[in-house]
Symmetry: C2
């Protein structure tokens, strides 16, 4: 009998691969080792559970352990893979009972990423969160709500009840400090504001949401401020400070000190690849696993996907590390199919992402940053326009800010960002599709996009931006 397809990590990439492999080859044995209790949870939904927009924490699970079992996946939670041996084709697994060796025919490394908290001291304090795990999410919401609701969260299956009850028992916080102005920071500002906290967001760079470019970042900051959030740009948090019970009581930053009783640190993530030490599986420059177009590593029968793996960027053609949900699902699914015997490329990434900041929608794709574009051999030019989201006479027409970046030599579109309150984020998909097909700005200007007064003006904001950028390119 063939050894199983072994998957390290029971989240989006791992379970997508396991499910697809089982569907394509129902006789194949598939074993998934998950270090924790939770599997297949929607990290992007966490801020909305904290906010109260999503009622039940289990709504964030896209595949329950029971459903995985129904698909014939041998899912083993609380099993940590500590070592990979591609020569012997085995992994070393540790669980409550001890350690064992598991042989594999194919291996998928889908170990994800973890929130960075260093180098800020104090992140271990009670009241400080990184919001990367379900139990933290449960605990944070329990902290914000009344006792009855906290108890109902604590008693949900899979939830670490003791940890959650500890927060449920505390007085609700009044002032929130958010460290980092990326996705998590901006979404958490909205979540805390919904609970009427005094919200402070600290961001070391000079803008929010740096990957979305300056114009979108400015609109996001403006929106947060309109909702009463104090946005501290170019302000570095130096330490979280606790009281004698090790409860968070203040945030020290390079411009002063803020009394705060809850903090979320969202300053990025790093790939979980330490257990690959000694395996000769190559990592890329980002520290994530290097893979080919089928998600295969340099070692035979060892694949990697999701937040722990690099992918090829559609614009640069080079490996890049952009840990996002669709990428994990798509690459996992492709690898599951490949392992089942029908080779399927994992596809490129364009770094397409969207985020909501209160009523503001932002989307981004490709390469906006000029330094990165230069590094990739382009000569970047950008333009930003603000145009209407609907016909000017139609109610609800909203100012939509579009930034497009192109290579001045070839006219090829490299990146784009959109911010606005009316269907702004979803318009980025048009730009992403154009980028992945190596469209020039002139081609985009001539795209036959939909026009209907309630949804889009004659010249969609994307077309307006292309017109202006093309003018600049041709000057």
């Amino acid at each position: 009998m063939t050894d199983p397809f072994v998957v390290v990590g029971g989240d989006a990439a791992g379970l997508s691969a396991a499910s697809k492999c089982r569907r394509e080859d129902p006789d194949r044995e598939v074993v998934v080792f998950e270090q924790g209790d939770w599997v297949s949870y929607a990290q992007c939904g966490m801020p909305y559970f904290v906010k109260g927009e999503v009622d039940d924490i289990t709504d964030l699970l896209s595949l329950s352990p029971e459903a995985a079992a129904e698909r014939g996946i041998d899912l083993r939670r609380r099993h940590e893979v500590t070592r990979v041996d591609p020569d012997e084709k085995t992994v070393t697994v540790r669980n409550e009972s001890g350690t064992f060796e598991q042989p594999y025919a194919d291996l998928l490394v889908a170990s994800g990423a973890r929130a960075l908290s260093t180098p800020i001291p104090g992140t271990e304090l009670s009241g400080a969160f990184t919001l990367h795990h379900m139990d933290d999410t449960a605990a944070l919401r329990a902290f914000l709500v009344d006792d009855a609701e906290a108890e109902s969260i604590a008693s949900v299956e899979y939830v670490d009840g003791e940890y959650v009850r500890e927060y449920g028992a505390r007085d609700p916080p009044e002032t929130a400090a958010i460290v980092g102005g990326g996705y998590v920071g901006v979404e958490m500002a909205e979540a805390f504001a919904a609970h009427d906290l005094d919200v402070h967001l600290f961001q070391r760079p000079d803008q929010l949401l740096p990957p979305f470019g300056e114009a979108a970042g400015e609109r996001a900051a403006e929106t947060l401020r309109e909702h009463g959030v104090t946005v501290h740009l170019q302000t570095e948090v130096e330490a979280l400070v606790g009281d004698d019970r090790d409860h968070l009581m203040a945030v020290e930053h390079d411009d002063g000190r803020l009394q705060a009783d809850v903090a979320v640190v969202g300053v990025g993530v790093r790939p979980n690849t330490e257990f690959l030490a000694g395996s000769d599986v190559d990592l890329g420059p980002s520290g994530a696993v290097a893979v080919d177009e089928f998600g295969q590593t340099n070692r035979e029968a060892v694949f990697a996907a999701g937040d722990c793996a690099e992918m090829r960027h559609a614009v640069t053609g080079e490996a890049d590390w952009v840990p996002l949900g669709l990428t994990a699902n798509r690459a996992g699914r492709a690898i599951g199919q490949t392992v089942a015997g029908d080779r399927e490329p994992v596809g490129d990434i364009a770094g397409t992402a969207a985020v909501k900041a209160f009523e503001l929608e932002c989307g981004r794709t490709g390469i906006l940053d000029h330094d990165r574009a230069w590094d990739a051999g382009f000569d970047p030019v950008s333009e930003t326009v603000t145009a209407g989201s609907r016909s000017g006479y139609y109610p609800g027409n909203a100012e939509t800010t579009v930034t497009l970046t192109a290579d001045s030599q070839s006219g090829r579109l490299l990146g784009g960002a959109i911010a606005g309150e009316d269907r702004a984020a979803i318009r980025i998909d048009t730009v992403a599709t154009a980028i992945e097909h190596e469209a020039t700005v002139a081609e985009i200007e001539r795209l036959d996009l939909a026009y209907a007064p309630p949804f889009s003006p004659v010249w969609d904001p994307v077309l307006v931006a292309a017109k202006v950028l093309r003018g600049t390119l041709e000057d």
Copy 2:
């Protein structure tokens, strides 16, 4: 001195060309002849003025005669071009004072289209409208509102006050008959329903919005019915019947007779090209003017754009006639640039369109119809899926119906349609962009589209449809 650039028609295509030419070459004389009083009006906005969503009829004007004059355009309203002589490079123009010959260096035929009303007898009755002209729009709204508002409409500049007052003086209608279930029909159903009329829509085919495919048509019919509109499918209106004052009183159809005191006939349009008789300017099979990639006709220095002209279809590569607003603006603008000395292609069309039916948004692009696809040499296969517009756990997640059609030999995407209540129409732009870049279904399945719980699930409905269609193609 060079003869002027002469434009026939003062709407989207004509004034886009005139404006662009003046901007690129400020010394160039540009003369625009417009048959009527109104210029540059947003036909797509008319139903929303009738509904009351748009307050002021002049909001529908995108360029006033005064603004055209400021751009240095010699705009002559109430000037009808009756003949074109490309050998002599002159047009014959008729106005109140008589007839004259106007020489041109370049000529743009942008004479638009007119609503079809034949072969239904009775469309000349008072109370029967085709809603193609501003005065009809003004009169129809005056018919629906109280006397004071009717008078305020009648007294607006450019409005035919006498015609509008005639309707303002009549009792408001109670039952509306809509003949035709295309854009105008569906939008007018919403408009009449807003005025609490008993609304009946008659459609000869077996579905609403045929260009949007069966699934979108069914959803539109369902939505109209939910709002109290009686939808009569496969029902042909045979005549509009008047009383002794020639006021509409009933609609006779092949399934009976409906008492109705207002009717809108929206059964399509035809290009205004009769004045080209004898000019040797070639028309295409559609009856619209045939042009090359620069919008030029077979005659030297004679261009055509907008609702009276064909364009090349991005999927078939062949000439097609799809009169839509963006096409007119884009082609007009390109021709204005070409005439100013900097040759610019008019671009292809993909037949991308969007329409709102109450809260339902529909978008379509490319070739969905299998017979048309066969005619163009493809072997079409379609799939329709219904998928969520947001993450399942996020409030407002709405069922989004996507139809994709591809060529089974090459896997190339040929067309798509989307219907749903949450950002559905705008998602068609992704499909349109893919189609214009000749993407295959497999490429679409691997597109890196934006994922954020409030706007889009991990797998956008377009990706879900591509996955399913690819499965079918590979079976």
